[in-house]
């Protein structure tokens, strides 16, 4: 049986032994950082003009357009998000040491 997404996330953050309420708090905080971290990494791949365009599209609230735009600018955007996600998680764990 494959583990649940939560179990994988909790294991990835190495917080299996914490109570659920603490896990929730950390998942929420780290989730926000992942979002911001991936966004920053994506923005770094874009030209200043594209950065501004990305902001405009994203703030328009059309997720599909946002994704289409990023996918057209960043090769293999799925893998890119996955890699950056792992980097953020690794960083926060290192900072907690």
């Amino acid at each position: 049986m494959h583990p649940s997404a939560r179990a994988v996330a909790v294991k990835e953050l190495e917080i299996e032994d914490l109570p659920h309420d603490m896990q929730d708090s950390l998942l929420a905080s780290v989730g926000e950082n992942i979002m911001r971290g991936v966004a920053i990494a994506a923005l770094e791949k874009l030209s200043p003009e594209d950065q501004e365009l990305f902001g405009t599209i994203a703030e328009g609230g059309d997720e599909r357009k946002t994704l289409e735009f990023l996918s057209s600018k960043i090769p293999d955007f799925n893998a890119f998000v996955a890699d950056e996600t792992k980097k953020v998680i690794a960083e926060v764990k290192a900072m907690a040491e």
Partner: protein, 862 residues
């Protein structure tokens, strides 16, 4: 003694002998003929006194040095630095002047404390006792020379320090000695210290060292201890007198500084093992009086919390690991800083974090705090990077995004975190879609990110209440997950996203596959996108939008018209009709929800008022009939099993009845044919009448309202339902006079008393059907009413009991009281303080609600 002392010679030094400076520098101060340990500030003072210089520097420099920040910034790095001479002569001179002033100030304070004690006749009391009382009253109430001394303050503070003083003096008294033994209070309850008696500094027996009760010094010592971190054994001063733990506990004070006091003791070379400290704390707790005063109880609670700090997973009794106070302090400072920043941008998150750590043991709390602080630092680092690297517009975009993101309810932040953090290993194919949804923020609640995670989240919500989720609830959770993730975000994504998820949600996948396959042709999607948003704003499969004015069909379920469709598909497809899925808000009932929906869809356009009532009731009755016609469907609609009991935040799929075109057309025909007189208050029973005794216009809310709306509740409290009906009804055998539940300092008028009794009748249902009447109460309530409401509400572990400190048992009655407390808190906005008993809190909240609180079934009504 004629030769100068070394630091290790303190115990033999006496005032007036050579070496005073060095002796005091090493941590000693004289009180008459005794030597007692001092806090590090005093050590610094005395250290500098041994080598005074003439060059004392400018006032500005002195002020700079005086500030604690300057000292911890490295101007002075503790006594060790001074001892080693690692400070410039110039700095030493500046510090000398300022610390001399500080020493004088302290001397004045000590005199004032002695005067205070003398004023109240405490100079006749045992050695040390009066000192403690004098300090407590003077410092706690900021008594100034010649200033007023509130007599009630004395009355409160005297017993507060009674036990410590008693133990210190070695005397045992049945009751705390009363203040003002020699002099009556002024009629205005104020004492003016215009004529203080001659100062009599307490004299101690030279053979019995007495430790100074000094919360302020302890606090400073605690902070100062952090400076000692990193010192090596060969550079650290040896044989500095330290506060023995036993003695320290004997004078344990009820202030927060007391905790620091104990920890500071550990920073010395005579650190104790966890086991030793636990033994000492346990011994002290066991010696506490059987009926402690509220003040004594307060600091006993602190001892319990200290004990919890020491009993982390890696600090079991017997563990020889030394607790390092400096290390703890350093970590604490880091977290404090992070918490301040969190509070600045999200006060509710800060509040939630504080609630989360409350009651957790030391090791667990430490790990959590480290990660929380790290996450905040990472956030700060990210924001700094954005500001540094990107143009203003991009910076502003990220900033605005963050602000919007923070407004998302916690469960959805958790869901997104799970999806992103866990998704990297589960399936990379969907992460980009999740990211895009999170960037969009506004659709996060219903986007692709949640389908997989919300179901698991909901499952956990129920499980952590100790409740085994019944099938109907599981079905309901799945439907919520589907609504949020699949039907708005897109079935294709969810299928792909849960490809490797747990087997428990395999049925989700199967359902979605049917839905996806039966749906409209998929919208072209970008590479890797897998149709995540392909059905955006499109009526779901199985539905067609019918024009208005042709009977009842806001969304007609074609399946009921004979279109082949799998039952599951029909069920879930109906969920997709956002117009027909109503989210319950406080104060609503099913009847009004139906009525509102009918009006919204112009079903009332050609009906009289009575006909509108008739139609509404027809539909309501149809919902009610589902209980017998289709129990599974009914349970999915009303998990409470009662159409009268719906909860804010519930989603009611009206299409289950109102999506049935044949039924609706027939009902409308019958309404049009009705020419009688009806009113909402007429003979037709209404689906969700307000609770009995609730004044017209007042709202009734269920006790298990969504607590995520309560600022400051811990995530564990977001579990929602307390599932009270799952527990056996408590048996109440004893009735006590009403005075037992009347809270002494919270008077209740007749109406408020009625409210109180209503709540008790709910919390303590009698097994014999007895209804509590005025003048009766339960002995169980008598016990529980004195327990901390805060513990009852927030500390789940407290409910489980503790072999050493059995506070609250985990039973049905406690659960009911807990539910009532939470509901009252949610509705009134009144929160209990940590030490406030459940009875007092209820009385206070009821009064705040104007005394108008009723229980009816599972509802708290106002």
């Amino acid at each position: 003694m004629s030769t100068p002392l070394k630091p290790g010679d303190i115990s033999s030094w006496r005032p007036g002998e050579p070496g005073e400076g060095l002796a005091v520098a090493a941590g000693a101060r004289k009180i008459e003929h005794n030597v007692i340990p001092l806090d590090p500030v005093d050590r610094e003072i005395s250290m500098l006194l041994k080598e005074p210089t003439e060059d004392e520097g400018s006032e500005k420099e002195l002020n700079e040095i005086l500030s604690w920040e300057a000292r911890v910034d490295g101007k002075i790095k503790g006594n060790e630095v001074l001892l080693k001479g690692e400070i410039s002569d110039e700095d030493r001179a500046r510090i000398t002047k300022e610390l001399r002033a500080l020493k004088k100030e302290r001397g004045d304070v000590a005199q004032l404390e002695a005067e205070t004690a003398a004023r109240y006749g405490w100079d006749e009391e045992p050695d040390g006792w009066r000192t403690i009382r004098g300090q407590a009253v003077t410092r706690e109430y900021d008594v100034q020379p010649g200033g007023e001394l509130p007599s009630d303050a004395v009355m409160r503070s005297a017993p507060q320090y009674w036990l410590g003083a008693r133990r210190m003096s070695g005397q045992i008294h049945a009751t705390p000695p009363q203040p003002l033994a020699n002099e009556p209070l002024a009629s205005d309850n104020k004492q003016t210290m215009t004529e203080p008696k001659p100062v009599q500094v307490p004299v101690q027996d030279a053979d019995v060292p007495v430790h100074e009760f000094d919360p302020r010094a302890a606090s400073e010592a605690h902070t100062k201890a952090a400076d000692a971190q990193g010192q090596t054994p060969d550079t650290a001063p040896t044989h500095i007198p330290v506060m023995d733990m036993e003695d320290d506990i004997q004078t344990f004070d009820p202030t927060a500084a007391a905790e620091a006091h104990i920890k500071a003791a550990n920073s010395s070379a005579q650190e104790k093992t966890v086991a030793e400290r636990l033994k000492e704390i346990d011994g002290f707790i066991k010696s506490a009086p059987a009926n402690p005063t509220p003040e004594e109880q307060a600091w006993l609670d602190k001892l319990v919390r200290l004990r919890e700090d020491l009993t982390g997973n890696n600090k079991m009794p017997g563990d020889k690991t030394v607790v390092s106070a400096p290390a703890q302090e350093a970590r604490g400072n880091r977290f404090d800083e992070a918490l301040r920043k969190i509070h600045a941008h999200d006060p509710e998150q800060a509040d939630r974090i504080l609630n989360t750590i409350e009651g957790k043991d030391g090791a667990i709390r430490e790990r959590f705090l480290k990660l929380t602080a790290a996450a905040e630092e990472q956030k700060e680092s990210q924001e700094a990077k954005v500001k540094e690297k990107f143009e203003e517009k991009t910076f502003e975009f990220i900033k605005r995004w963050g602000q919007k993101y923070q407004k998302i309810p916690l469960p959805y932040k958790v869901a997104l975190g799970i999806t992103l953090a866990g998704g990297a290993l589960l399936s990379t194919g969907a992460l980009s879609a999740v990211f895009a949804t999170g960037i969009g923020v506004r659709r996060l609640l219903a986007g692709a990110a949640t389908a997989v995670t919300v179901e698991a989240f909901l499952q956990h919500r129920h499980e952590r209440t100790g409740w085994t989720r019944p099938e109907f609830q599981e079905t309901r959770d799945r439907r919520i997950a589907l609504m949020l993730g699949a039907l708005v975000g897109g079935g294709g994504y969810v299928i792909e996203g849960i490809e490797h998820a747990s087997a428990k949600i395999t049925s989700l996948k199967e359902t979605l596959e049917k839905l996806y396959e039966a749906g409209n042709a998929p919208t072209p999607t970008p590479p890797g996108f897998e149709g995540a948003f392909s059905v955006d704003n499109v009526p779901p499969p199985g539905f067609v939008e019918a024009p208005k004015g042709e009977g009842w069909a806001p969304y007609i379920n074609t399946a009921t018209e004979g279109t082949p469709a799998a039952p599951d598909l029909v069920d879930h497809a109906q969920d997709a009709s956002s117009e027909m899925v109503h989210k319950v808000t406080p104060g609503e009932n099913l009847w009004n929800i139906i009525k509102g929906n009918l009006a919204e869809h112009h079903a009332f356009d050609n009906l009289s008022h009575d006909q509108q009532v008739y139609l509404t009731d027809e539909i309501k009755n149809k919902f009610s009939a589902l209980q017998h016609e289709s129990p599974e469907k009914f349970n999915a609609l009303f998990p409470s099993g009662n159409i009268d009991l719906i909860h804010p935040g519930d989603h009611i799929d009206l299409s289950k009845v109102m999506g049935d075109k044949a039924f609706m057309d027939h009902a409308i025909e019958k309404a049009q044919a009705f020419h009688g007189t009806l009113s909402h208050e007429s003979a037709l029973p209404h689906a969700t009448e307000h609770a009995v005794n609730i004044p017209e216009g007042e709202h009734a809310i269920p006790y298990d309202v969504d607590p995520t709306r309560i600022p400051g509740l811990t995530p564990e409290d977001t579990a929602g339902s307390f599932n009270i009906t799952e527990h056996p009804v408590a048996t109440v055998a004893e009735h006590l006079p009403s005075s037992e539940y009347m809270v002494a300092d919270i008077p209740l008028n007749e109406q408020a008393r009625h409210s109180f009794e209503s709540l008790l009748n709910y919390a303590y249902p009698s097994s014999d059907g007895h209804i509590w009447a005025p003048g009766e109460s339960s002995s169980e309530w008598d016990l529980l009413s004195n327990q901390s409401a805060w513990n009852l509400i927030y500390r789940q572990e407290a409910l489980m009991g503790n072999s050493e400190f059995p506070i609250i048992s985990h039973d049905a009655t406690t659960e009911r009281v807990r539910a009532v407390l939470k509901a009252i808190m949610e509705r009134t906005g009144i929160k209990p303080s940590h030490d406030e008993g459940a009875g007092r809190f209820l009385a206070r909240a009821i009064n705040a609600a104007g005394g108008r609180v009723w229980m009816n079934g599972g509802r708290v009504a106002f």
